[in-house]
Structure formats: C-alpha cells, structure tokens
Symmetry: C2
Subunit: 262 residues, 2 copies
C-alpha cells in the first residue's frame, strides 16, 4: 500500500490494488476567505494550491468522504468527480447530499463493515472537538451542518490494516479503534485547527504523541497541515516535537504531493 | 512595580509599596500524584520545589486567590499563612472556605472595584476551559468544586495598570478586560494545562499571541509553566514561539524565583 498526500486532508491511498481518494477538497488556492471566528484572519483558504492536476487526482476507484465539511468535500469535488464513482460516506444524510448532487453509487460505511471487492471498510467514530463546539460555531455562522464525523478502517488479508482517524481530537473513540483493529498504518488529520474561543477541533502534536503511545508499532502519517487558516500547527513544529519525543521513523509528515510507500 | 515568580501560578507582586502574594501553592515537590485523566501520568505534582523558603513567601501585605483549585491554594497555604492576613477572593463561597479555615480578614473582589489603601482592585472574568470541561472533570473525579475563576486588575495613580488574567483561556472576557483597562502589565497563566479528552483549560502559546495582538504595548509575563503534569507547554517551546512571532521584549518568561522589574 501507499499513501500520497495531495493537500490538507485529501490523500490518495493505494490499497489491495485499488485507489481511494480521501476527502477531496479541490478548490484553487486562496479562493475562500479565512473561516470566521478563527485565528489568522489574514490568510485565505486553501492556503496552498493542488500539487497535481485534478484529472490525475480523480483517477481512482472510489472516494471516501469522512464528513461533509467544505474542506473535505467542496463544490469543485461535487462537479468534477465522475457521477458513477463509488462514493463512501458516513451517514444517510451525507449520502442524500451526494445523491442530490447526481452521484449514483453512494454507500454508507458501517461499523459492522461493508465490502468493496476484497477490501472491508469499517466505520469508526470520532469527536470533532470537545462537546458542541463545532455545532455552536455553525450556529454562530448561521449555517446548517453537523459535528458528525467518521473514521474508516480498511482491511484485506494481504494488506496492512489501515486506519483513517478522520477529523477528530484524541478521544475514547480513537483509543477504541486502535484497540479493536490494531492498525499497522494510521492516517491522522493533525493540523490543530481551532476556533478562537474554544480549543482544538482536530489533533495537534500532543495528540499525535498519544496516538503513538497507543499504537507504538504503527506507522502514523500526519496530514491536514498548513492548508487552512485556523490550523495552528506547522510541519516544522510537528517535526521538532517528533524528534524531541522519540517518534522519528514512526510518525511521518509528508509534503503536499509526496507518496509514502508502506 | 515588580513581579517575582515563585512557582507555577504563585507570584509575588510589589505594587504601590505593597506586596501581594498571588495563588499560593506551597506544597513540597512531588507530594501529589498526577491529576487523573490528564497527560503525563508519570509525573508528580508540583513538578518542582519552591525556589525560596515559605517564610519568605508569606511575608506580604495581602494574598490574592484567583480561585480555589488546589494548585492555586493548597492545605499548606491554609496552614502557614497568618490568619490575620488580608485575603482577596473571587466569591462569597471562596470567602467562606477561607473563613472556615480561620482567616479573619477576607474580602471579595468586585467588578466595580474595592480599595486596599490607595490601590483599587477590580475583578475580571475568565473562562477556565471552554464550556463545562472543568465541571465535567470534577464530576468524573467525584469531587466538589467549580469552574469559576477571576482575574484582577490593580490600579494606582502612580503605578502601571496591572492585569492578572487568572486561569482562563483566550476569550471575550479577556478581550473585554484588555479593552476596558488598557493594562501596561499583564500576568498570564500560560502552561497550556489540558485534560486528555478535551482541549486546554488555560492559555498556551497561541493564546499568548492573541493577548499580545490585543495589547501590543503591554509587558506580558507568562507563568504557570512546567509545574503541573498536565501543562503541555514548556518554556523552551514558548520562547521559540515568542521569537518566531516577533514578541521578544513584550512577552517575558521568568524562571522560578526570578524577579522582573517593570
């Protein structure tokens, strides 16, 4: 298997002969303003451009959308991904959104597992910031939406067990998923995005350390860094912390466009 | 005026000819276990000893207790501080606790201001972590207590205006206090203490930057670092961030026992 970071939470995972596109956010650089009520209001989103062409990004066998926040699935993705693409989502609500957008083959991932050829996908849970912080934020903005997020575990007899934690803080759900599936490879969204009043809504370096302690033999790939204005963790800072805490070799910090063979 | 950091949130402030002891946590090194359900369970509290004798620490004119959490006022403080000491607290509840402990001269600081000689003390508000995180934590522990905290502003015609923010995250209360009082000197508790499930309950480096942006002409003194097991920010990391963000000279990071003249 290998993982190619495209940008932010968008990754392409090659697994048991199939290519999965995770969380396609395909807008051009800086076409959105900063998220309101967050840090770094002088930055625009996405903070960087795509490292490869959209045509190349969407040449996959399936798409996994961990949740429908705009930096994980945007209007460009809605437009350019072929409507007959296999789409995996967390809920019937998200499935309906994609079907409304014209997608024909949308499937909800289940905790009990669903099959895609010889690969089984299991839904895992997460907490997108403590309590109702995300919902409070959306109320403040006057937009609809939910704090619901999923992670996904991919299993195949000939492959490493692969866990995508999704947009979650370190919480019992993540501990449970690690205990239950004992993943060999973990993809973390670890850019430490925060609202001004409230604390992190995804992991940062301290939480990466907790994941490392819980899964000391796993390869941990950290992405969703340096692309959204309210992400406070830089790759430089994360790398220094990895070195300081003895996680070198276990925790990897790919650049945009970089492929990591596993 | 000057500020001498004793250890953690405990500081002695000399102001308009009077000495104030802030948040006396006077226990010996490592006599308490790590706070449950927090990071770094292998560490004991306080993580370091007192840099000077208790006799020296309690030679003051008054004590300010921002709130009654044990790392701000402990059983040693209850025992060794003279019972006729002037004690300033945030509420009638906290006043009752001190009076039960034998203190005779306890006064509640008010938002409208109270006088202590020619110094006026104003109560300010804070948020000790977002929402009910602290109360949820105490429920989990089965202990009584509250998330209520105060900050205090000290004013005197011949002195700089001094703002002690207290155990608070960056929030509207802190913004309001800075706008209202335009402090020349700000004492922050900035050790980034956190519960495992939940985010920060006091400021860390990102929040120090917000305070700096809100009060660019103030001297900001950062304490409450490297003394509690669940404080995730180190002085080294904070100093690097101060340098990186151009806050050198404005944000100071005293060592335990160090006096900063202002």
């Amino acid at each position: 298997m290998n993982i190619r970071l495209i940008r932010s939470a968008c990754n392409i995972v090659t697994y048991a002969g199939k290519k999965f596109l995770i969380d396609p956010w395909l807008s051009d650089k800086a076409v959105w303003p900063a998220f309101p009520f967050t840090y770094n209001q002088d930055k625009q989103n996405p903070m960087v451009g795509l490292p490869v062409s959209i045509d190349e990004i969407i040449k996959v066998d399936a798409v996994i959308v961990t949740h429908m926040h705009p930096d994980h699935f945007d209007d460009v993705a809605m437009k350019v991904i072929p409507k007959d693409m296999k789409m995996f989502v967390q809920s019937e609500v998200d499935a309906a959104t994609l079907k409304d957008g014209g997608f024909k083959d949308v499937e909800v991932v289940k905790e009990s597992g669903i099959n895609f050829g010889d690969i089984t996908l299991y839904k895992t849970l997460g907490e997108h910031g403590r309590g109702d912080i995300v919902e409070d934020y959306m109320k403040k903005l006057g937009v609809s939406g939910t704090k619901e997020v999923m992670g996904v575990v991919l299993k195949n007899p000939n492959e490493k067990t692969f866990y995508i934690a999704g947009d979650t803080i370190w919480c019992e759900y993540v501990q449970d998923a690690i205990s239950k599936y004992n993943p060999d490879v973990i993809l973390l969204f670890a850019g430490y995005a925060q609202f001004v009043y409230g604390g992190p809504i995804i992991m940062g370096k301290y939480e990466v350390l907790e994941v490392f302690k819980a899964a000391p033999n796993a390869k941990i790939i950290t992405t969703h860094l340096e692309t959204v204005n309210h992400g406070l963790l830089t790759r430089k800072e994360l790398k220094e912390y990895i070195s300081e805490k003895g996680m070198t070799g276990n925790v990897l910090v790919p650049d945009d466009g970089e492929t990591i063979a596993l």
